[in-house]
Symmetry: none
Subunit: 415 residues, 2 copies
């Protein structure tokens, strides 16, 4: 089995000042994972030659492939080339062919090449240039004589330049391990992370396949990942574990990998030629926004209303006596709102939310007290939730809890 | 001058798999910089005890303040407490007081505390707990006897929990260096980044104070930052530049620093005892969600409707002849929707959106064709937008364009 261990180094003082978020790292991590490359460390350093060299040396000591992002610009701050040259003990030389290209690049844009840009035409005896058709900084692939078997890749910082260079220049130049990696994410709703872990028991302790849980705003995700000499074998290795997780959590799993709850619900509505409408109080439009975020949602989302005042709730069909007796934040009001959504908008399903998003209590009810309701062909039903978090979190959790309720109803499960 | 050198460690395999982007690091970096703390290194490791310990040890060797993010959950994957305990050579003990709080936290939400959560009540002899009012994981501030003069801070991974703990629990516990730094962000709407840069001219080329522009979903932000021996001096240095920027961009500036457009608009509505309602098609609830995202929004948001079908638009007051003559995606329909929002919901202002979010054209109109409209005491007005981007981007830009239009109307400016 060929194994390859990679390490990422991002160079740029702007990263350490919080001026930009390093989104390149997520792209590179995903690319490496998909090619069976393990990644144990990522380091960020500023535009400082000493620290860049220190990070490079340490990375070369523990990884086979060191990927350096940023620091390839023409200014004195851009020190990636200098750091690599120092660590591998080589002297940069100007590549006359690339220098001519660089001059032509500037001239084609009606500009004269500043003298400092000539360092972008540097090469090392052990490096090859990775062309950058959309910027001035070429990348480097270095196979240093000083560190036999190791590779250093230098990529530009701007994401569009980096991604294009990665795909067009680098992928074909490296012998990636047989991609003996397989992973699948199971997405659950209406169950907490601790309960998921309890149901999974010893499964989460195995190393290969590994089973990990992640609490996300749209529910708990469970990720099964396996490594093996080939991707087929990894998938064979993962299959029985995936089946066990599915068996343990079946009634909570709404989708796989990139499925979203709104998309899954939308597909079921479309398949049943059914429709949905909502009357929102607490969530203030977020539920309808989530439902209409799916391309083609107009086929099954009729519409809805945001009723932020008692008067508006009554105007849309809630009995004023219900609000007087139980309050606007109550199971009874939620139920009437859901029924009103269904009848006013003429949809198969009516959804409703009411509750206290905070920061202050309302009607003597605590922040996080939420009622969600669903009305459908078989009747209507409301649930109380006790949610934790800030205003935004409470709105989000309510939306996903209610979409989960709709999903279970669409599958014909008991409420 | 007191100097303080910090180092960041993020712990989480999901970061090394590219599943999430580490946005916490940018927040922490900004906070440190504003307090005069230097940051030279940031390291990311997976959920691996050995590597977490190695990263911690190295960081303690070269920094005064080591901030560890993530890994404070209740599961076996969450190893931050274990790693800190190992590196400082102390044994965790359960804090009975916190354990009781944790149990009460679960019970108040009608749930039983899973056994594994008890490790969230761990403390070390040299650690104090940082309370987490919106989650189960408290943070730690460790002043280890093994490393005199050094501090380790452990913060939870979820950004809302981390930021609140940072502000409310940590800031007051650490003696920060004299903060000779001052920055102010001016937030603009209804003007593009290149136009902003043009109006600012040579201002963006100075180093101290520096002036930088950032294109954000809610408009272009302009950040003025100054460094000086003290914060007062830095603020004095920045003041004339801020005034120049304000003079250049005055009619586009809606707020400062963390002001949001929805908050600014909400404040104006409250000050005028006015109200707003909306009928949304294209934006599908996102406009109302943004308006109701502000605490206290119920004082001025009456409500609104999402009308995703022609029939629903008519039911809410659009003349069917208008749709027949001009289409649902038209200036005329948008105008009638805004007027209907105002009259149906009895609000001072009525807002409306209609358009093509994509991915496919509609009514023969291209993706990104959008009409926004506003109806108010002085009449009504609609604008056409031609937006670029994906479905979500088009929805977001439409919302902020319309909030910008409402803001200008609330300030009494010509439409």
């Amino acid at each position: 089995v060929v194994t390859l261990l990679a390490e990422l180094i991002s160079i740029g003082t702007e990263l350490l000042l919080g001026e930009i978020i390093d989104s390149n790292a997520a792209f590179l991590a995903q690319q490496l994972k998909a090619r069976g490359v393990a990644l144990h460390w990522k380091t960020v350093v500023g535009d400082n030659l000493g620290r860049a060299c220190e990070a490079l040396e340490r990375a070369l000591g523990r990884a086979d492939l060191v990927i350096v992002g940023g620091g390839l610009g023409p200014t004195d701050d851009d020190l990636t080339r200098e750091a690599i040259a120092a660590v591998v003990g080589e002297t940069p030389v100007i590549d006359e062919g690339y220098l001519a290209q660089l001059r032509a690049f500037f001239e084609s844009r009606g500009r004269h090449m500043p003298a400092q840009n000539s360092k972008q035409a540097w090469l090392l005896p052990s490096s090859e240039a990775l062309a950058n058709p959309i910027g001035t900084a070429p990348g480097w692939l270095v196979r240093p004589a000083s560190h036999p078997g190791k590779m250093i890749v230098a990529l530009p910082g701007p994401p569009t330049e980096m991604k294009r260079m990665w795909r067009e220049q680098l992928l074909g130049r490296i012998a990636w391990p047989v991609a003996g990696f397989y992973s699948r994410t199971l997405r659950t709703i209406a169950i907490g992370e601790s309960h998921v872990t309890e149901l999974l028991g010893a499964l989460t302790q195995a190393a290969n396949p590994s089973v990990a849980t992640y609490a996300r705003r749209d529910g708990v995700h469970v990720r099964i990942a396996a490594s093996a000499p080939s991707q087929d074998l990894a998938s064979v290795l993962a299959a029985p574990v995936i089946e066990q997780v599915e068996a343990s959590l079946s009634r909570y799993i709404y989708g796989y990998d990139d499925d979203s709850l709104a998309q899954v619900v939308g597909n079921l509505l479309k398949a049943n030629t059914q429709s949905v409408a909502a009357i929102e109080s607490l969530t203030g439009g977020l539920l309808l926004d989530e439902l209409t975020g799916i391309a083609g949602a107009s086929a099954y989302v009729v519409g809805g209303a945001v009723t932020y005042t008692d008067q508006m709730k009554v105007q849309f069909g809630v009995n004023p006596a219900t609000i007087a007796a139980h309050g606007a934040i109550s199971r009874e009001t939620a139920l009437e709102m859901a029924e009103a959504a269904r009848s006013r908008f003429g949809s198969t399903w009516g959804l409703a939310t009411t509750g206290v998003a905070g920061p202050d209590p309302s009607e003597g009810k605590a922040v996080g007290t939420v009622y969600i309701a669903i009305a459908g062909p078989m009747g209507s039903h409301a649930s109380e939730l006790k949610l934790i978090g800030e205003r935004r979190t409470i709105k989000e959790r309510t939306v996903f809890a209610l979409l989960g309720l709709l999903w279970r109803n669409l599958r014909g499960e008991a409420q």
